[in-house]
């Protein structure tokens, strides 16, 4: 359902501009929330590259998110005078390595087998993080101070949330656009076609295993970047960053927004964070309502919110509901 129209760049530019202007009108609390949304949007996007594009249902994405989050905290604490970029780079390298090694094991299986194994691997990472308390702080977590960012010609003081928001917007925004760009490249298309007909792709001479491993490693590194920013934003990381709940969050965001599109999970992250924030103000039972919403969506709107949006677009363009999304210029990406 991703349209191949060239017109996406203006939309990205408008979104970015809105993001730049947002702190001028929003209160600090909302800027804080928006920062979180952007970080989780990247996390959800990386998750959806696995679920929506490669058709791999993973329950272990938090091991990348958590590894990234912890690596940043640990390197900022133990390496004196390490610049933020250095810490983020170390986090990305660490998650790339984790993605490559675990991918080697996990990708031997498909479908439900793969889902089950990722859950077990996530549990292993969680167990290690809990037990290895001398490094990870165990149940207490780690506190870090967000260092200032030196750009050479100027220094950004990130103590205030607005400055950090802009850093997040630029870096994470660029990462999201890069992910989007990747789905347009030959690599992205290979993954997509692999999901549809792996035998044929093999026959055409593609090494599908390598492609899948590259994608898996890449999504791991991207989730690690999101995790790194998560630590920087909250100036704190605990084992909850590596828990199954953190994987669940990505799954819910991607699914609520719609796994069939690239931008759906970003919408999902937006809805999820806001819903979570307001529901938790209203009731202590908010996870129950999140669960009910999720089951309702699985039963009634399997395509997520983007499905609704596309229906509405279809109504207005007068093409009818579901047909509007399957023209010659578009491709189905629903798993």
């Amino acid at each position: 359902m991703i349209s191949r129209k060239k017109g996406t760049y203006p939309y990205i530019a408008v979104l970015f501009l809105l993001g730049l202007l947002a702190p001028l009108v929003l209160r600090e609390y909302h800027v804080y929330m928006l920062t979180e949304i952007i970080i989780f949007a990247l996390y959800a996007v990386s998750y959806n590259l696995l679920l929506g594009y490669a058709g791999l249902l993973s329950f272990g994405h938090a091991m990348f998110f958590g590894t990234g989050a912890f690596t940043v905290a640990v390197s900022l604490i133990h390496i004196p005078a390490l610049p933020v970029w250095g810490a983020i780079l170390i986090a990305i390298l660490a998650t790339t390595l984790v993605g490559f090694v675990t991918g080697g094991f996990l990708l031997r299986h498909k479908g439900a087998y793969f889902a089950l194994l990722t859950l077990a691997f996530n549990a292993l990472f969680y167990a290690v993080a809990t037990k290895w308390s001398s490094v990870t702080g165990g149940d207490d977590g780690l506190s870090v101070t967000r260092p200032d960012i030196h750009l050479g010609f100027t220094t950004i003081n990130t103590a205030g949330i607005v400055n950090f928001y802009y850093v997040t917007l630029v870096v994470i925004g660029a990462a999201i656009v890069f992910c989007w760009y990747l789905t347009r490249t030959a690599m992205g298309q290979t993954v997509l076609l692999m999901r549809e007909n792996e035998e044929r792709m093999k026959f055409l001479g593609y090494d599908t295993n390598i492609s899948r491993l590259i994608l898996f490693t890449f999504t791991g590194a991207v989730a690690g970047l999101a995790g790194a920013f998560y630590t920087l934003q909250f100036q704190f990381v605990s084992i909850s960053a590596i828990s199954v709940e953190m994987t669940t969050a990505a799954l819910l965001m991607a699914f609520v927004g719609g796994t069939g599109t690239f931008w759906g999970p970003i919408l999902g992250a937006f809805v999820y964070i806001i819903l979570q924030s307001y529901l938790s103000d209203l009731t202590d039972r908010w996870p129950l309502f999140m669960g009910l919403i999720f089951v309702f969506m699985v039963l009634v709107i399997p395509g997520g919110l983007s499905q609704i949006i596309q229906r509405i677009q279809g109504l207005f363009s007068g093409k009818g509901s579901s047909e509007s999304s399957s023209g010659p210029e578009t491709e189905e990406v629903s798993p």
């Binding site: 194994l117 077990a120 549990a123 669960g291 089951v295 798993p335």
Partner: protein, 286 residues
Amino acid sequence: MNEIFVFFLHGLAYAGLLFLVSAGLTMIFGMMNVLNFAHAAMYMLGAYFSYTVLRVTGHFWLSLVLCPVILFIIGALVERFLMRRVHIHGHLHELLLTFGLAYIITEIVKWVWGNYPLAVNLEGFLAQSINIFGILYPVYRIFIFFCAVLVGLSMALILYKTRLGVTLRASVNDGEMVEALGINVPLVLTGVFAFGTALSGFAGVIAGPLLSTYPGMAQEILVDAFVVIVVGGFGSLGGAVVASLLIGELQSFGVLLFPKLSLALVYLLMAIVLIVKPSGLFGEKQ
């Protein structure tokens, strides 16, 4: 020497519990190709229902019969009114549905029974200890092991020696053909799911007095049960037996020998099995 024997018996008891949980899971997976994430939540429901039945009536045996029946009904309803609706969207949606259900059940349990551990105390014969080769050992842990053996044997008998078992296995291999012979395959699948759910409820009742009853119990056993399925081989009952024993003993002796590593040992075993034989010990090649 005595200590080792005690730990061996502890391992057997946990292996029994693990088998009771993973047998239903592997059966649902093997027959319906659905990885039921709600399975452990159903197990937790069994434990909580049993707690309530015990509080009200005080009869452990009653809860051991009653709770699986309740869970059977719940399982049948879930399959008939929820699972079947998303079946057309494929296995991914079925999996997501069970996942959402697990989420909801856990939250409801926290709501109704509170977010703290509840102790289940036994009375009478099961609460006593008996003398095995000069060691006083709790009857209840031995009882768990015998329950598992009994369930395992009856499942094997039903699956491989009865007409019902033939029908079940045939429905998996060629549902259309079985349907053509006049057998209601959707009803068979509902039955399989309901039976698997009842089995997890049974395991929950058994687990109550051994471990305490608390909202995290589902996730804890779920991961272990998943490891059992991976190590034993997907959908294989025999594999579940062997893997439960391996993991039960590994957990038990891990606590004794490497207390710091005990959690990771299980995953280490899983990793080794995956490297040597990716389809699991008794799994068929995919």
